[in-house]
Each structure stands twice: as structure tokens, then as C-alpha cells.
């Protein structure tokens, strides 16, 4: 496993950032941009920050912006608990606290020279968005780039502008599907994992990044293995509550691993056995 350089001083202390834009992605998901930083902290695709709301608390949130411009940080947040609900209600001009980045990133180097397959369910597009943006910037490094994007319904689709833009981009093959359609939806209907057997990519020479509900990742892994993708080329990102981000608060343990310290990105063989144990 890779150990990352994280700031060693004041790692538990948030730094204040002022919100410049709040973009409502869906009825319960926002993307928050903060003011440009003069001394940004570099991050890599797949890493997360601990984001603090004054007086309420902190939540672990993936960075959804471009790693090439670390001074322009964005986080995409779904309203689930106290903190994330408060984050959904914040206005531009408000200060939030951010500390990070933490965690093991997506294996972008390993994917070089191979097809890059990205499977995202719901808000799961947020943690892989930096990987897509980075891969498209260095398009020549990869074979096919394929995005399989699923959402519960058309109104749950996040980053619609990006999806439209990527659709028009010949460099990436975008497939969007929704679990249940509504009137006016002319796209695909069905769960995202059903696309895996049919979409063109080379199963023997690819790296797959998967992010979404645990059950989606299970079925994705199953379909990918069946298609002949080696287990160790399948990557997932896992989620559990975190208080510290650096492997000392104990909350995000899954058997032997701390999701914050050893993940959140794992190869399938590293965690398949752990996810298979009930209540681990």
C-alpha cells in the first residue's frame, strides 16, 4: 500500500476557506467552490478532505475539481447527515473549514497504456471526476476511455454539463443510464452494471475505477470478472464515517484496514473478502 505525504503539522486543524459558488446539482446534491488559493495544497484524483461547517461539524468529502488547479477546490456533497445537510444550505460568502487532502488516490499511473474504464453510480461521479479530467488532459497516455454513469432517475444526474461536454468529446465514450425514467427521457434505462458486458473495451488490458453504492460495486466487480478483467485491475472506493482522516480515530475500520489511511481506493482483491463478512 502507498503512504502519502500529508501535512504533519496541525493535521487536525481546519483552515478557513470562503465559498464563492454553490451549484445545485440535484435536489439534494451541491457542488461548492471556494475562493482561489494563493498557496494551494496539491491533491491527486480520488483523495478527500475533511470539510467543516461552523459549529456543526466535519464530514469526509471527495474533491471533485481538477487536480491541475489545486487552488480552485470544489467538493460535491449529498445531504445525508447533519453536516452534509448544512453544507447543502450554505450561501456564497460563507466560510467553511477544510483540512486534507487525505487518502490513497486512483491508480492513474497504472492505467497508462491501457483502457481506462470508469463506472460511477449517483454522486459516485464526484470522486472519479478528477480522474476523468486528468485522463482527458493527458489523452495520449490511455487507450479507450469509457465512462459508465448510472443514476436513479434523470433528476439525480450530477455534472450534467460535464456529461454533455464529454458526450461531444471523441476522446471519451460516455454511456448514461437511469434506473427508472421519466417522461421526456430518451436515454438508456436500466442499472449501470448491465452495460459492462456490452461496452467496447479490452478486458485483458484495462484498469477500472468504480465508485457508487457498495451493492453497485459488487455487481460491477462480478460483471467485470466475468468479462475477464483481472481482479487486481478493478478499483473501488469505500465509504464509512471518519473523524480524523489519518488513521487514529478508529471509526472507518474495515477489518485490518482504515479506509482513510489505507484507502479510500482499494483494489478488489484487497477488500472483496472483507466486504463479504456481515457487519465487519
Amino acid at each position: 500500500m502507498t503512504v502519502l505525504d500529508v501535512p504533519t503539522q496541525g493535521t487536525l486543524t481546519s483552515r478557513p476557506y470562503q465559498i464563492t459558488t454553490v451549484r445545485h446539482q440535484t435536489h439534494d446534491i451541491v457542488t461548492i467552490d471556494v475562493a482561489p488559493q494563493q498557496h494551494p495544497i496539491a491533491f491527486r484524483p480520488g483523495q478527500f478532505d475533511m470539510v467543516y461547517v461552523y459549529g456543526i461539524g466535519e464530514a469526509a468529502i471527495s474533491i471533485s475539481s481538477d487536480p491541475a488547479t489545486p487552488g480552485l477546490l470544489s467538493h460535491t456533497i449529498r445531504a445525508v447527515g447533519w453536516v452534509t445537510r448544512a453544507l447543502n444550505d450554505l450561501q456564497p460568502g460563507t466560510t467553511i473549514g477544510i483540512r486534507g487532502p487525505y487518502g490513497r488516490p486512483w491508480p492513474m499511473e497504472e492505467a497508462e497504456g491501457k483502457d481506462l474504464v470508469i463506472i460511477a453510480g449517483g454522486i459516485g461521479l464526484a470522486p472519479v471526476r478528477p480522474a476523468i479530467v486528468e485522463a482527458l488532459r493527458h489523452r495520449e497516455r490511455y487507450g479507450r476511455i469509457v465512462l459508465l454513469k448510472g443514476a436513479r432517475s434523470p433528476r439525480d444526474l450530477v455534472f450534467r454539463d460535464d456529461l454533455d461536454r464529454w458526450h461531444a468529446d471523441r476522446g471519451i465514450d460516455v454511456h448514461v443510464t437511469v434506473d427508472s425514467a421519466v417522461r421526456g427521457w430518451s436515454g438508456r434505462v436500466g442499472v449501470v452494471t448491465k452495460l459492462i458486458p456490452r461496452v467496447p473495451f479490452d478486458p485483458e488490458n484495462c484498469v477500472v475505477l468504480t465508485c457508487g453504492p457498495e451493492v453497485m460495486m459488487w455487481f460491477s466487480a462480478e460483471a467485470l470478472l466475468k468479462r475477464g478483467v483481472p481482479a487486481e485491475r478493478i478499483y473501488v472506493t469505500l465509504e464509512r464515517n471518519m473523524k480524523c482522516g489519518v488513521g487514529t480515530c478508529g471509526h472507518c475500520q474495515l477489518g485490518p484496514v482504515f479506509l482513510c489511511r489505507d484507502g479510500p481506493v482499494f483494489s478488489w482483491p484487497e477488500v472483496a473478502g472483507l466486504l463479504d463478512v456481515r457487519e465487519l
Partner: protein, 394 residues
């Protein structure tokens, strides 16, 4: 802390009872805040020591699963008891730790002020070898992880350790199985052995040059062969009374290969999920944070406090708890303590102090539970590979 201290050259010495008082006075004179065992609330707990009279002189303890009582000893031993409910963790990694305060500047903005960490010079006086071993485990977790924990590091810096070898193990102790006692050869600045045969005295060995310097400033006698033999006798007698065992042979494979063993259900029928075991454990490090706003809303203080994997809300994915059953929560605690701790930190999380057995209200005994799993395990060879620790690669 930090670089390994130079090996001291001095030979063992002997301090009289007065010598013990002078050692404590010397520590105060050098500006140390001295923490050690003292009687409070019908238990021997860690507290400030102003003088030797604060020590539990003449007190012993009686410990069995779910049972702790102070008993009057027939001698005047200063250290005639096993470990009580508190440990060095309470001082080095306190139950509540202020982290920082966000001060409101206007309706939408705030500034963050880090909590002040008082500079103090701490000395522990009278730690058992298992307690010193527990500090080493916490060092591994909180100082040598991917980051250094600020709060622990500030408290731990330049801490002086005066250990006392154990001549009074309790029935719940199993330090021999964890190789943490009853005696010790290194790991503390001074290592004492209380000798009660003949003249009441203390054999003292320096474990570091700091300890050596301290000894040189005290009036003492060179230790005789009789003194050294008396120490051996104390340790042999203690070892003979340490009957409880935890067989640690391939314990990682045993526990991780038996995650669905029916014994977990049997434990869950007794376990109250009260978290006592995690609170008295000298190595349990799990914490949560609390953000509290003052009445006017002008400042919000973030405090870290001990948490426990026995609480339902400890681990969740989204709003859903991961470990709904007591079975799963006890299993998390025990497998972490004895097995996955090794994956994570290259050391067991258990030092064999027995606190979790004594202070369990229903007397659950982890040594017995592990033994039951071992005896009824269908396959001791687990398909669970050890996960390579990221600390080793770093």
C-alpha cells in the same frame, strides 16, 4: 521518546524507604509533575503524587472477572497491588482534549484558534511493566502512524518513567502471555523492584542516562548479591501466581478465520455493550469529536473525546450503522485488539493487564473466549493473509 537513549553503565543500587521519598522529592525539585498510583474512590487510580504518603502504602487489591476490591495488606508495601482502572492513557491521551476554537468574525466568517498545549514536565512514578508496554503501544499508534498526533505528542514529550516491577499480580492478569511482565529489563528511565524481605528497600536499575543522572544525585548503596537474589525471588513468586494464559499462537489467523464462529453469539448474550473494557484498556485509542457553540454563537469549540467501538453509531455508512449487533461490536473489539492491530501497527493491542476482565460488569474474560474459539475452531489455518502494514513500506 525519539532516538534510543544511550545504555546506562551504572550497576543496580538499593534505595531505602527514605531513599524512595528522596527520589520523589528530587523529581519535584527538577520541576516534574509526578503522576502515580493513589487511593481514591475505593480504588487505586493514577493521580498527582506530592509525597510518598500519597502512595497506596499497605493496600492491596482483589481482582476477579467483574470484581475489584481494595484489601488491607499485612505489610507496608508501597506497591503491593496490581493495576487499577486508570492508566497512563488518562494523562497522555486524556478523555477530553480541546483541539481548536472557531471564532465568529461576522455572520458568515470565522477564524480558527488552535488550543494551547500547556508545557509541562511529566513523570510517571510506579508504573507496572505492562503499563510501560501500553505506552509503547500508544506511541506506535499515535506517534509513528502516517502522522504524529499533536495532542499525544505534546503530552508525551520528555515524559520520565519510573517503573516498579510487579510483585502483586491479580487473578485477572496475563502479562506473561503477552511478554510484558512481571519484570522488565528496559523501557523506563528507572526500574524499581520493591523488596520486602528483611529491610524494606528498593532495588533500582537505570534504564536510560536520564535515570542514571537521577540516581547519581541520590544517596544509595550498591546492590548486593542478596538484593539481586531477592528481586529474582519477587519475580519468580509473581510469575508463579500468574496462572491466567492467553495462547497467542497464530492468533491473527485463529480470530480472522473464525469471524462467523458461534462463540461470538454466545458472548453477545452476556455482553452489555457498555464500553467499560474500551475505557479501562490502556491502549484503546478510538475517539470522536464534538463541536460545541457558546450561547451567543460567537465561538464554536472542537473537542476530541474517547469513543468506543461498542456504541451503535460508532461506524456507519451514510446514516446506517455498520455493526448493528452486539456480536459484531464485540467481535470488532476483540479482533482489533488481538489480530488486526498487528496488521495496522505491527504490534498486538493487548498487554495482558487484565483490566477489561476485572471491569467488565458481567465478567467476560477475553482469554477464556479466545480459548473457546481455539478449542472449537474447525480449521485453525485461516485463509486470511496478513495485510502488509503501510507503516513498514513507508
Amino acid at each position: 521518546m525519539g532516538a534510543p537513549a544511550a545504555q546506562p553503565k551504572t550497576r543496580p543500587v538499593v534505595l531505602s524507604e527514605d531513599g524512595l521519598a528522596r527520589l520523589l522529592a528530587r523529581l519535584h525539585h527538577e520541576g516534574y509533575e509526578v503522576i502515580g498510583p493513589t487511593v481514591r474512590d475505593h480504588a487505586i487510580v493514577h493521580g498527582p503524587l506530592s509525597e510518598v504518603d500519597d502512595l497506596p502504602r499497605g493496600w492491596g487489591d482483589e481482582q476477579t472477572p467483574g470484581h475489584y476490591r481494595l484489601v488491607q495488606r499485612e505489610d507496608d508495601a508501597y506497591f503491593g497491588f496490581a493495576v487499577g482502572p486508570s492508566s497512563a492513557k488518562r494523562t497522555l491521551f486524556p478523555p477530553r482534549q480541546p483541539l481548536w476554537t472557531a471564532e465568529s468574525r461576522d455572520d458568515a466568517n470565522f477564524a480558527i484558534i488552535e488550543a494551547e498545549r500547556p508545557e509541562r514536565r511529566l513523570a510517571f512514578f510506579g508504573l507496572r511493566p505492562c503499563e510501560v508496554a501500553a505506552i509503547a503501544v500508544q506511541d506506535r499508534v499515535l506517534l509513528h502512524g502516517i502522522v504524529e498526533d499533536e495532542v499525544y505528542a505534546a503530552n508525551r514529550a520528555d515524559v520520565l518513567l519510573v517503573a516498579v516491577e510487579c510483585g502483586a499480580p491479580a487473578a485477572t492478569c496475563f502479562c506473561r502471555s503477552m511478554s510484558t511482565g512481571p519484570g522488565m529489563e528496559s523501557g523506563a528511565d528507572l526500574i524499581l523492584t520493591e523488596l520486602l524481605d528483611g529491610d524494606h528497600r528498593f532495588l533500582v536499575r537505570a534504564g536510560t542516562t536520564t535515570g542514571e543522572d537521577l540516581l547519581e544525585q541520590l544517596e544509595h548503596d550498591e546492590a548486593t548479591e542478596e538484593d539481586l537474589d531477592a528481586r529474582k525471588e519477587v519475580l519468580a513468586s509473581a510469575a508463579a501466581r500468574l496462572e491466567r494464559r492467553l495462547d497467542t499462537t497464530d492468533i491473527h489467523g485463529l480470530l480472522m478465520g473464525n469471524l462467523d464462529h458461534p462463540r461470538w453469539d454466545a458472548i453477545a448474550e452476556r455482553c452489555l455493550a457498555c464500553a467499560n473494557c474500551t475505557l479501562v484498556c490502556p491502549t484503546c485509542f478510538c475517539t470522536t469529536v464534538e463541536d460545541r457553540t457558546d450561547l451567543a454563537g460567537t465561538e464554536a469549540t472542537r473537542e476530541r473525546r474517547w469513543d468506543s467501538c461498542f456504541s451503535l453509531e460508532f461506524t456507519h455508512t451514510g446514516p446506517a450503522s455498520v455493526r448493528n449487533s452486539t456480536r459484531a461490536r464485540y467481535r470488532q473489539w476483540l479482533t482489533h485488539k488481538l489480530a488486526t492491530w498487528i496488521d495496522q501497527f505491527d504490534t498486538s493491542g493487548c498487554v495482558g493487564c487484565g483490566r477489561c476482565i476485572t471491569w467488565c460488569p458481567v465478567g467476560i474474560d477475553l482469554t477464556e473466549e479466545v480459548d473457546m474459539i481455539r478449542r472449537t475452531s474447525e480449521d485453525n489455518v485461516a485463509p486470511w493473509p496478513m495485510v502488509p502494514s503501510p507503516l513498514q513500506e513507508g
